[in-house]
Symmetry: none
Subunit: 216 residues, 4 copies
């Protein structure tokens, strides 16, 4: 950046730095608008190094998507493992997911907001990443809500539906957070659970909302 003049770094370190820089630029500008020169500048190296390490702009993008989707999925699994009860595990997992989305804005934007219309390889990679993240949430939802009996179990489709709603809500709430800087991520998580979990639970209990009828 500023001070790093002609440092000789081992490949693995440099590579991570480049991916860091790329993530920031792709997130801020989008795939097409991102300029490799800017990534190189941000990484404190010259463009040819970027190409030596990651091969192409597409390679840069794919590297970002891969690394970040793995990080996100890992954050999930680790948090969810720590819980005692299913509810706790879901809460912990959602908290981790939400914290990740809130903190690693760049990662999330690249993973979720980039339109998957950038050529076959990229579209595939994005699709894979999203699938893997969604699968993690989906698993949490199913495990969390299932209270043991077979009857409690939400069907595959239901869980998927809820997972999408959750992920979408969390995503959108990152915007909300930016306009409410005072709110700590934990409170946001609780609030989201407030709205979503109760609904999910009641759904299980059979308390289902029905469309109101027009007054006769």
């Amino acid at each position: 950046m500023t001070d790093k003049r002609r440092r000789r770094l081992p490949r693995s370190v440099r590579e991570q730095e480049i991916i860091d820089a790329a993530l920031g630029v792709f997130s801020k500008r989008g795939y097409r608008a991102a300029v490799v020169d800017e990534i190189a500048d941000l990484a404190g190296i010259s463009k040819p190094m970027v190409y030596l390490y990651l091969g192409s702009k597409e390679g840069l993008f794919i590297a970002c998507v891969r690394r970040e989707s793995q990080r996100l999925a890992a954050a999930f699994r680790e948090a969810a493992q720590a819980g005692d009860s299913p509810e706790q595990r879901l809460w912990a997992g959602l908290g981790a997911f939400f914290a990740f989305v809130a903190e690693h804005r760049d990662s999330w934007v690249v993973l979720h907001r980039q339109a998957p219309e950038q050529g076959e390889a990229i579209a595939q990679e994005i699709a894979d990443a999203r699938r893997s993240v969604m699968a993690e949430v989906n698993g949490l939802v199913r495990d969390g809500i299932t209270k043991g009996g077979e009857a409690d179990r939400l069907g595959e489709q239901e869980a998927d539906f809820v997972a999408h709603a959750l992920v979408g809500a969390a995503d959108s709430l990152t915007d909300w957070m930016e306009r409410h800087p005072g709110e700590p991520p934990e409170r946001v998580t609780v609030r989201l659970m407030n709205v979503m979990w109760v609904g999910m639970r009641n759904v299980l209990v059979g308390e289902v909302w029905v469309p109101p009828q027009h007054d006769a």
Copy 2:
């Protein structure tokens, strides 16, 4: 395009056709990747005409955003007006919103998925559009949930929070719908209400979810 050879159209009609074309292209490709040539082709006119009508690529984009955000907001208001009870109005409004998001994929993508980092004018326009849409939902949520008494009223912040969650969930569920083509939008709306409304209502009643404690 197909049959439209050298038609003489009134300014207003032609302009709408151009915006239609632009919307499709911006949605499919994203702002940067969108190519004005393609928009002109799709509109069945030459590029200079596009520039004559909308001035610039940025002008095209802004026109899309303005028109679609107005349409979306209008769909809201109209649907919400028709309801008898607050709950009904919320349901109708959400249904309209959801139907719009599901049906007008292009509009929604341009309105919500485009990163607002494409220059000052565009960023402003996108921000405005999102604010206006969110305000509409926000109003519905406040009206819908407030059952009359002052005590029932969710605070400004709460409503905004819920509105964000709703919009995000709905957005994300458009992806879900694409993978479940059999589900009609109405069922998706009901399902979303299933999860969200019950939660929202219970929140009002005071039944608040609390983070589970670790076993001592």
Copy 3:
């Protein structure tokens, strides 16, 4: 070039001018070293026009190869048609070929000297062009030498061999001509016939050269 400021030319004319320019640059520099900017400058237009008309550097090259190989083959056929006897037709054909090679140095260099290692499409195009030129010479050689009887006919292989020798000799002699500016192409043609035709004819007559034996 110099005076052509912002001329509006019909596509077909401009296209030929661009190919003219490209031919000169490819000939002078070789495919890789050729710079599209130089071609554009030489054609008196901007680079985007070049791409609009011929699509790519490869497209430029292929257009050159196609046009020039057709011109060369046509020059052949026309000249050879005019002759009365086979010998005359061969002489006329060779003269035309030789005049073409000598006059259109650029065409010949692009057709014959460019290494066929520039990617599949180009290699194929070059190979096709060479084959077509060689086939023309080959046909002349066979027709020219064949004096009617079946016995006189050189086999396919022989004709091909002779054609290669002829073409190579003519090619090489263009260098010689550049160092002997006084020699008119006609004299060079005669000289080449002097050496080659007599050999070819004698071969037919059975007067075959045999390797000299070492003195015992």
Copy 4:
């Protein structure tokens, strides 16, 4: 490359290996398209070594041209020395030349096919090399054909003309050979003599081919 790990080689040997590699790459790709990295890889050493030994890409090319033109000229001289009669010497010399061209494809391509438009130093070197090779052939032709008497002697110009024709024919026939793998180089040499020598000899004897006249 394969087994050569960190071998310590004397300068002269390593240098030859580098030139070997360079020759292959320059021949296959042409000067511009040749990439120094590939040369270094092929030589089994790192790029800085290449630069240490030969100084620059241009230096590599010049080294190739020098070494190969000397080899070719030497092959000539040696073969021509062994002959008893002038005819025998010419035949032997041409055979050597032809064998060289056919066998050392790379050398010949670099020497003869590379466009001499790559900068002053290279152009000069290529020109020198070609001149020296051509001088050798020229000498053979003059010596070979001259049967003693002054009258038999072809003029300087004639010999040069014939030399160019010979070299060009031989060059072109290397292409022919690639499509007729069964033909041994010796037969090709004989065949070439068949066509060329008889013509050359007859020219000396005064049997000159004259352009056929149109039928009156």
